[in-house]
């Protein structure tokens, strides 16, 4: 354990740029939800109506949590947001622990540290302490925000504690995975599966008898019932589980060699398959995993949004204030809701497109582009190979969302025609998504170093304009700079092809200009 305190200080220093964003994200989710819910359901009658609407909607229960939470306004906030805050906190804990244990070992940096006066368990102990501190901070912030927005203090304290407990459980879970697998990607994959299972188990439990929810760390937090039951004892489960997991992790750590895992890395192919023969095959091979993840995620999001589309109409009729948040108002509620959700999915697809396009820069700076460009592969082929993934992949993401939302909505209203309809609606946003990708390509050609900043600023800008333009009363010209503002909000309005064609032409021009820059600049700098 020698050196734990010093390592912890070092880790805090390394996390000072990233950690605040996680804390901010979790806090904002609770803040926005608490303000919104108290605004919408300002009377016991409104809450009563909500209970009646939602009590019969299994899709909403599967997405959110147990209906017992709806007995008070504070519980309603927990019902709506707890699962999402739990996911954010779990991911934060996973990355904190994974990054400072297995990833450090894998890169060899931990070797230097361990060669100093640092004990075998010190890096794990420090990483867990780091995650513990981060989760305590999340808990305190959730409590402060919930109590600060007027929710009961006692329930708010349990809300914060339950949130922190989920994070601590996943930190402990990551500690075990970091001993089992010898590379960080596998660790994140395994913890991601556990997190997914935790969400699905509590969904199944909340819809059914509730028994399965007790097998899920997210379920433990929800079933502490902040504001409606205040069962503090439920938090003994995550604490006990964390203690067990950490004990197991330490036991494995004491037995294993440095750098090794319990699961030895599987040998791969001795020869490349026939298809792995050119830059395109390489680019798709490198990016297929992340594309599959994004597409599946967007597909599931589509299912989630689609499944509640039908009840939205009834819901809004009973809660007229909600209509203010929808672009078309109360007149065309379902279509307005669909347009809003598709617009949000398009922003996520854009984020995928930007990460994919930025792989081009990562390949260059890591030195992996060099051996490829030293073969007969031209710069154009190399650029287009990765770009083909970004362009096709973002289309697949939109497609997955459209099919997911169309299928779920189509099932609830018994109309198979919703699948092609909503797929088409989602793909309307493709030109706008491509224009942002094209902007990244332009930066890659002429200003490669700031290209990541260019991409993410563009995504952030479009997100702000799309989601908050009306509520912030942004000036007209600010909105018009975003390609999303020019994309027709189908199915709320009719499809207009001209703006889409203009956006596509602009995207093509930007990509061409980007290539012109790439062709004449030095590679690798």
């Amino acid at each position: 354990m020698t050196g734990t305190a010093g390592l912890l200080r070092f880790m805090l220093r390394r996390e000072r740029a990233g950690l605040p964003w996680w804390l901010l994200g979790a806090t904002l989710l609770v803040l926005v939800q608490s303000a919104q819910s108290q605004n919408l359901y300002d009377s016991p009658e409104a809450l009563q109506r909500l209970r009646q609407t939602i009590g019969s909607n299994t899709a909403v229960i599967a997405m959110s949590g147990p209906t017992r939470l709806l007995e008070s306004i504070g519980g309603e906030v927990v019902f709506e947001i707890f699962a999402f805050v739990a996911i954010v906190v779990a991911l934060m804990s996973m990355f904190l622990v994974g990054r400072h244990t297995r990833a450090e070992e894998e890169t060899g940096r931990a070797e230097l540290i361990r060669s100093a006066r640092v004990g075998r368990q010190a890096p794990l102990a420090a990483a867990l302490a780091l995650a513990g501190l981060a989760n305590l901070a999340v808990g305190a912030l959730v409590f402060a925000v919930a109590a600060g927005t007027g929710l009961p203090v006692g329930g708010s304290a349990l809300f914060g504690a339950a949130t922190a407990a989920v994070g601590i459980t996943f930190a402990a879970c990551t500690a075990v995975a970091a001993q089992v697998f010898s590379n960080a990607r596998a660790v994140y994959g395994a913890v991601g599966v556990v997190l997914g299972a935790a969400y699905v188990l509590r969904a199944a439990g909340d819809v059914g008898s509730g028994a399965l929810s007790w097998a899920s760390p997210i379920g433990w937090g929800q079933r502490a019932f902040p504001y409606t039951g205040d069962r503090w004892w439920a938090l003994l489960l995550p604490l006990g589980a964390s203690a067990l997991l950490v004990t197991a992790a330490v036991a494995m750590l004491r037995r294993r060699d440095f750098g090794a895992g319990l699961v030895p890395p599987r040998p791969g192919r001795a020869r490349a398959s026939r298809s792995l023969r050119n830059a395109y095959a390489l680019a798709w091979r490198l990016q297929r995993g992340s594309l599959a993840g994004w597409a599946v995620g967007l597909g599931l999001l589509g299912v989630a949004y689609g499944s509640i589309a039908d009840s939205i109409e009834q819901y809004v009729r009973e809660n007229p204030q909600v209509a203010e948040f929808l672009p078309g108002g109360a007149a065309d509620i379902v279509n307005a809701y669909l347009a809003l959700t598709v617009g949000m999915s398009a922003l996520i697809a854009t984020a995928y497109g930007v990460t994919s396009a930025l792989r081009i820069r990562a390949e260059e700076t890591s030195g992996r582009a060099e051996p490829v460009l030293a073969t007969a592969t031209s710069r154009l082929t190399w650029l287009v190979s990765h770009l083909s993934v970004a362009l096709t992949g973002s289309a697949l993401c939109l497609l997955a969302f459209g099919v997911g939302e169309g299928t779920a909505y189509g099932l609830t209203v018994s109309d198979a025609g919703q699948v092609p309809r909503l797929t088409g609606v989602a793909l309307t946003y493709l030109p706008a998504v491509w224009l942002i990708i094209a902007l990244v390509v332009l930066a890659l050609g002429w200003a490669p170093r700031p290209s990541p900043a260019v991409g993410w600023v563009a995504v952030g800008y479009c997100a702000v304009v799309t989601l908050f333009a009306d509520s912030f009363k942004l000036p007209e010209w600010v909105q018009r700079a975003s390609p999303f503002a020019h994309t027709p909000r189908v199915p709320l309005v009719d499809l207009a092809l001209t703006p889409l064609l203009v956006i596509i032409l602009l995207a093509a021009a930007a990509m061409g200009a980007g290539y012109a820059g790439l062709r004449r600049r030095d590679v690798g700098y």
Binding site: G268, A270, S273, L276, E370, L373, A374, S378
Partner: protein, 306 residues
């Protein structure tokens, strides 16, 4: 138009990054069919030169011809005819060594499958491991096998044996000897003097982005000094005054001095009439040769014709 016997011809090549001058009028000529040693201290511009030859960097000034083409303009066509092994090999972590060797070979325009398997055996590399699990030496082997399994007529090797153990070093030397017998051309940037001595027909030494010496090893040896310790019957006088003699230490009948190897014959003739009792002559080692060039200020126009 360069003649076909010159695989690489560079004159007056300059390249700056921001304010830093990486290459400052570099000259380099590599004849077809030779193994050319490319030497210089760290940061002297060897890697930059090779990247210019690969068409990754655009020269600021100077003439660069490779295999009869312009490396910047004709990059794709030229790359079919060359193989490149970087000094600092980074690979895609999730792909196996065997897959990377095949992929790079196919992207270059095909690789000799039998030779690939033979090289895997000789370099003792497990091709089924994911690249993230390879050590530095094994990553180097992946790049080496990918390069050597090609039938490219020109090999650009940038410190290809850094990280290899002595056994693998000797396998590498055998492989380069075979390449040489096939009449292919090699530009070998290296720090391992034994390797350079064993393999290279000619060497170029660069420093601060400029060529300071170029020629055969014999030529270069000739340019350096031999250390002499001598004892004579008659007192030694006037040695200092002779041209080509340096750092003289005289003590009656004993003397120690360095002499330009080119002047050795003249000096020995001058010593003979004095009655030589004993004489030891130490030829310059390669290390001394290189250290002298690595340390010395660059001399303009110090290039020797070969």
């Amino acid at each position: 138009m360069t003649t076909t016997t010159e695989a690489i011809s560079i004159t007056g090549l300059s390249k700056s990054f921001g304010g830093a001058k990486a290459l400052d009028g570099l000259d380099l000529t590599v004849t077809a069919g030779e193994v050319h040693g490319f030497l210089g201290p760290n940061g002297s511009g060897k890697t930059t030169t090779i990247r210019v030859l690969l068409g990754l960097l655009r020269p600021d000034a100077g003439q660069v011809r490779m295999l009869g083409g312009d490396p910047w303009r004709d990059a794709d066509a030229l790359h079919r005819r060359l193989a490149y092994v970087p000094g600092d090999v980074t690979l895609w972590p999730g792909i196996t060594g065997g897959e990377i060797i095949d992929l790079l070979g196919r992207m270059r325009g095909g690789l000799d499958r039998r030779r690939r398997d033979e090289l895997l055996e000789r370099f003792d590399l497990d091709p089924r491991k994911k690249a993230r699990t390879y050590s530095k030496g094994n990553r180097q082997k992946v790049a080496l096998i990918a390069g050597l399994a090609s039938s490219a007529e020109l090999l650009l090797l940038d410190e290809p044996t850094s990280g290899l153990d002595p056994l693998m070093e000797s396998v590498f030397q055998q492989c380069i000897q075979e390449v040489k017998l096939q009449g292919r051309t090699v530009l070998l940037s290296s720090h391992i003097l034994a390797e350079v001595e064993a393999l290279c027909d000619r060497v170029s030494i660069i420093r601060l982005g400029r060529t300071v010496e170029s020629g055969t090893l014999t030529d270069l040896r000739h340019l350096t000094r031999t250390s002499i310790a001598v004892e004579t019957v008659q007192p030694l006088t006037g040695i200092e005054a002779l041209s080509g003699v340096h750092d003289v230490l005289v003590e009656d009948h004993h003397a120690r001095f360095d002499v330009d190897t080119a002047q050795l014959d003249t000096i020995v003739r001058r010593l003979a009439p004095l009655g030589v009792r004993s004489l030891t002559s130490t030829p310059p080692t390669l290390e001394e040769l290189f250290l002298r060039h690595y340390d010395a200020e660059p001399t303009p126009g110090g290039t020797v014709a070969s």
